[in-house]
């Protein structure tokens, strides 16, 4: 079944309104928590008056940090831990200052309005520039400045190599702040009983949350149960720990009732971690043939008001991937992480790798423009070749697995008549009524299948492995339990496909249990494209253990040698004697009959396996975007988008296509539409879906997809993961196309998002300077 486009098992419930999202869960006696949030970006809290709020109907209580003495802070870099409610100071608009609990959400919201907070305003630093300016006030207490981490990840700063290169080019790039915007905001429901605490929450990492909460409350892990039921999208942002998990738990303990919190969208926009938010200063040295000789990247990461445990690691990942799919003799990345009066920054689809990919893919286009070469030729001159795989980069532990970078590009060009497009482009340039045509490429590599443990520990997780348990019931049906916890990825279906193949059990007779720490013993979670490569590999291994054991039982039943047993169509038979056989259910029943098995046989068919990836996997690919720019309005229309991806083994082509589409959509949106902005006063310019534009069905094109399959040898399935590829590949394909469309006018760069206004201005500035120089030449 692996490789078949089966439709998803999870769909009927979701399609008929019978899925279970956290806010759908009803416990008798549930009360509702609402936050009082800061409307200022940086201020000292002078006083909080809760008296009037506490008197309102339905209100069970109002709490500030002072009322919750001893409640621990959220884990981060030591010295930068975030308290669950602001203590003394607020760091960004939307930071929780107090909580209200009432019998109904409307009453709780009324009461939150009645809480009066007196602030004394502090200087606001809502940008990297402001936070790093001379004399800037440190936002985090006890630190000397807002630069909280600085690191050089290479032995050299590459100055000598840059100076020695025949050509040298410097430019700056902005990877703007984006919001993940899962359609379901953060929701949690805590029920603290004498037997322990149960939390239902919108999380990608239930076991991680369980561990954190148990530690924070000094409970043993068996006393805390974290359940992530259906989760309405996560995109990395639901991997972070949020104060509401802790607060609903604590208030449930105090009130002896279940406490629910449902974030509104406008709260979500300022409260859920944002992504990207990096600035790059790039210098590249190259020769006449376009070969890259040296690359220096200085990354500045905006961390927001509190450094997030994952967010603080983003520039490391960007640094590791800064060479892209190219052989560059010297790469010198360094970064600094800056705290600003904005929403904290954490992981968002691709987390750190899209930033690298955007940077290096803009570099090759810059080099091409400088030399007057075709951007594809520059790519070809620099690709790491398939014969060089696995390819050890200069960064310890970053070893690209099997891949065929030039092969992906060749496959892409089978779909795109490049020459015809260039001819059309030239023709359209000469027609002032016609749109400008631009062709952009992205040949990328990213990281998937996150682990191994030493790397993943750095992000606060127990390990980088994943766990799975496969159980055969006595009727021959199977149950899988996994530690990955999906939020749209289709694990029910993909993992059932894997088990169906290994155990020859019909797909319909396999179910999956996930996202509940009471039923799944251990797990890490779903992020970093680790579902199939790591989770799926654990499932594969557990299924094989069950299979091996079942074969031993079948051999005993058939009085044959184990090596002669074959399993096909749910039936074990003896090689060469196909009429002699037993079916899966008979074997499963026999597994529980000690008197009919060899002495000391371990009963049952129930096996657990872990998969610790020996390395990350490295999905790669080649994407092409063709855009048309309206000369009058600057509006960019995507005419074609073609994606060739190499994610190794494809478990389910239908779902793979869906993942690529979704990722590409987010990448296109970053290139053209999305940006979280702040005023100088730290007020968010994007606080709702009115002012933060998500792409609708009319903003996005059709996508054409294809695959190159180079299985990775780093896991038994050969799968590399692809959840993040689209978002990693697309932004530069689009921006390269936009720049290409205006390249003949001397345009070399434009910052994302390429809004009509920005494109129109760039275009007209280029036209103006062109006519000016023509004028000067003529006079």
């Amino acid at each position: 079944m692996v490789g078949a486009s089966v439709v998803r098992k999870e769909d009927p419930a979701l399609l008929t309104g019978r899925g279970t999202f956290v806010d759908d869960i009803r416990l008798p006696g549930t009360v509702h928590m609402v936050f009082v949030r800061s409307y200022l970006a940086h201020a000292r809290i002078v006083s909080i008056d809760t008296a009037e709020a506490a008197r309102l109907p339905g209100v069970l209580g109002v709490w500030t940090h002072a009322d919750l003495e001893g409640l621990p802070a959220t884990r981060s870099v030591p010295g930068m831990e975030r308290p669950c409610l602001a203590t003394g100071k607020v760091h960004f608009v939307g930071e929780p200052v107090a909580v209200v609990v009432a019998t109904d959400r409307y009453l709780a919201a009324d009461a939150a309005e009645a809480v009066v907070v007196e602030y004394e305003e502090l200087p606001v630093m809502a940008s990297i520039a402001a936070a790093t300016a001379e004399g800037a006030t440190p936002i985090l207490d006890g630190l000397p400045s807002n630069v909280v981490l600085e690191q050089q990840l290479s032995a050299t700063d590459a100055e000598a190599e840059l100076a020695a290169a025949p050509h040298r080019l410097a430019f700056a790039l902005v990877n703007q702040r984006c919001a993940a915007v899962p359609m379901e905001p953060t929701v949690c429901l805590s029920d603290w009983q004498s037997s322990g605490l149960t939390i239902w929450g919108t999380s990608q990492t239930p076991h991680h949350m369980r561990n954190e909460i148990a530690q924070m409350f000094g409970l043993s892990q068996q006393e805390v149960r974290f359940v992530a039921p259906d989760v309405g999208g996560g995109f990395g942002a639901k991997a972070s720990f949020y104060p509401e998990f802790l607060l609903t738990a604590e208030l449930s303990r105090r009130l002896r009732r279940p406490v629910k919190y449902v974030e509104t969208r406008s709260e979500n926009m300022t409260s859920m971690v944002h992504g990207r938010a990096q600035q790059h200063d790039v210098e590249v040295g190259f020769d006449d043939e376009g070969r890259l000789l040296a690359l220096r990247v200085r990354i500045t990461q905006d961390c927001g008001g509190w450094p997030d445990a994952t967010g603080i690691g983003l520039p490391t990942l960007t640094s590791f991937m800064s060479g892209g799919c190219y052989r560059i003799p010297t790469i010198a990345p360094s970064f600094r992480s800056v705290v600003t009066n904005t929403t904290p920054v954490g992981s968002y689809r691709g987390a750190g790798r899209p930033e690298a990919s955007y940077m290096i893919e803009r570099v090759v286009d810059h080099v091409a423009a400088e030399l007057g070469m075709d951007p594809l030729e520059v790519r070809r001159a620099n690709f790491v070749q398939p014969g060089e795989m696995p390819y050890a980069t200069q960064f310890e532990g970053i070893v690209y697995d099997e891949a065929d970078f030039p092969g992906c590009l060749d496959k892409l060009l089978e779909h795109v008549d490049y020459e015809a497009l260039r001819t059309e482009q030239a023709a359209l340039r000469n027609d002032p009524e016609a749109p400008l045509l631009g062709i952009g490429f992205s040949t990328f590599v990213e990281m998937g299948g996150f682990g191994p443990t030493p790397l993943f520990e750095q992000f606060g997780y127990v390990g980088g492995w994943e766990s799975a348990n496969v159980r055969l019931n006595v009727d021959g049906s199977a149950v899988i339990k996994v530690g990955t916890s999906p939020h749209g990825q289709g694990h029910q279906t993909a993992f059932a496909q894997i088990v169906a193949d290994q155990l020859s059990v019909p797909f319909e007779r396999i179910t999956l249990i996930h996202g509940d720490t009471a039923t799944v013993q251990e797990g890490i979670g779903t992020m970093g494209s680790r579902g199939v490569p790591v989770g799926g590999s654990a499932v594969f291994k557990a299924a094989n253990k069950v299979r091996d054991k079942a074969i031993r039982i079948a051999a005993h039943m058939l009085e044959a040698d184990e090596s002669d047993i074959e399993l096909a169509d749910g039936r074990f038979s003896v090689r060469g004697a196909p009429q002699q056989g037993v079916d899966m259910a008979e074997v499963a029943v026999r597994a529980f009959k000690p008197h009919l098995l060899p002495d000391g046989f371990d009963l049952g068919l129930d096996e657990t396996a872990f998969h610790e990836p020996s390395n990350l996997s490295y999905p790669s690919g080649a994407h092409c975007c063709v855009v048309e720019i309206d000369r009058g309005t600057g509006k960019v229309r995507i005419r074609r988008y073609v994606a060739v991806d190499d994610c190794g083994t494809v478990i389910n082509p239908l779902m793979a296509k869906g993942q690529i589409h979704g990722g590409v959509a987010q990448g296109i949106a970053q290139a053209l539409i999305e940006e979280v902005t702040y005023g100088a006063d730290g007020q968010p310019g994007a606080g709702t879906l009115v002012d933060y534009t998500l792409p609708s069905s009319k903003d996005l094109p059709r996508y054409e997809t294809d695959h190159v399959v180079t299985p990775t040898s780093f896991n038994p399935l050969g799968a590399k993961g692809l959840g993040e590829s689209g978002a990693t590949a697309a932004p530069q394909a689009v921006v390269n196309a936009v720049v290409d469309a205006m390249g003949h006018l001397g345009v070399r760069t434009i910052d994302m998002p390429c809004t009509p206004q920005k494109v129109w201005r760039t275009l007209n500035a280029a036209l103006a300077s062109q006519s000016e120089s023509a004028h000067q030449n003529g006079s």
Partner: protein, 171 residues
């Protein structure tokens, strides 16, 4: 806050409830009627996750006060089933992988159903136009468009929605 009596039929079942004047229809459906298929994704009528059909027309139930829905006939995603079978639109979404996390899906399915009631055979542009008010963060929309086209070719809006619309027309 004043309270009002409302009579609302939801998926064929009549109900009489006392609601607060400010209560939104989406909360009435989810809390009072315990029909949690209809979702909330924004505060601003932008996302469409809460789309239901009121008297045969699709509306965003987060923008409707329950009191103004007094006397209406509401169809939610739970009402699209045809004797335990999914409607053509629901089947189309499964066949064409038109959903991932499934959170936008009930609203998307209702909008698609409403579109097919009005235009039984929409082309791709018409489909994109018809679901423009429903945001999906997972799929990138392509396969949703395929899903709706599949439904158009396999029975359209379906009998439950068609009956609901006809009933609304007749009343």
């Amino acid at each position: 806050m004043s309270h009002h009596k409302v009579r609302i039929t939801v998926n064929g079942t009549a109900g009489e409830d006392e609601v607060e004047a400010r209560q939104l229809l989406v909360h009435y459906l989810r809390e009072t009627r315990a029909l949690t298929g209809t979702h909330v994704g924004c505060d601003t009528s932008n996302c469409g996750a809460c789309t239901v059909m009121v008297d045969g027309r699709t509306v965003k139930s987060c923008t409707v006060l329950t009191v103004t829905a007094d006397g209406t006939d509401v169809l939610t995603v739970e009402g699209l089933d045809e004797e335990g079978e999914m409607s053509p639109v629901q089947k189309g979404f499964q066949a064409c992988h038109g959903l991932q996390c499934g959170y936008c899906t009930p609203g998307m399915v209702m909008s698609a159903t409403g579109l097919l009631l009005e235009q039984p055979d929409p082309d791709d542009d018409a489909i994109r136009e018809g679901i423009e008010g429903n945001l999906c963060r997972c799929t990138g929309y392509d396969m949703i468009v395929d899903s709706v086209r599949w439904a158009a070719a396999h029975g359209g809006a379906g009998t439950a929605a068609t009956a609901h619309a006809a009933h609304a027309e007749g009343s």
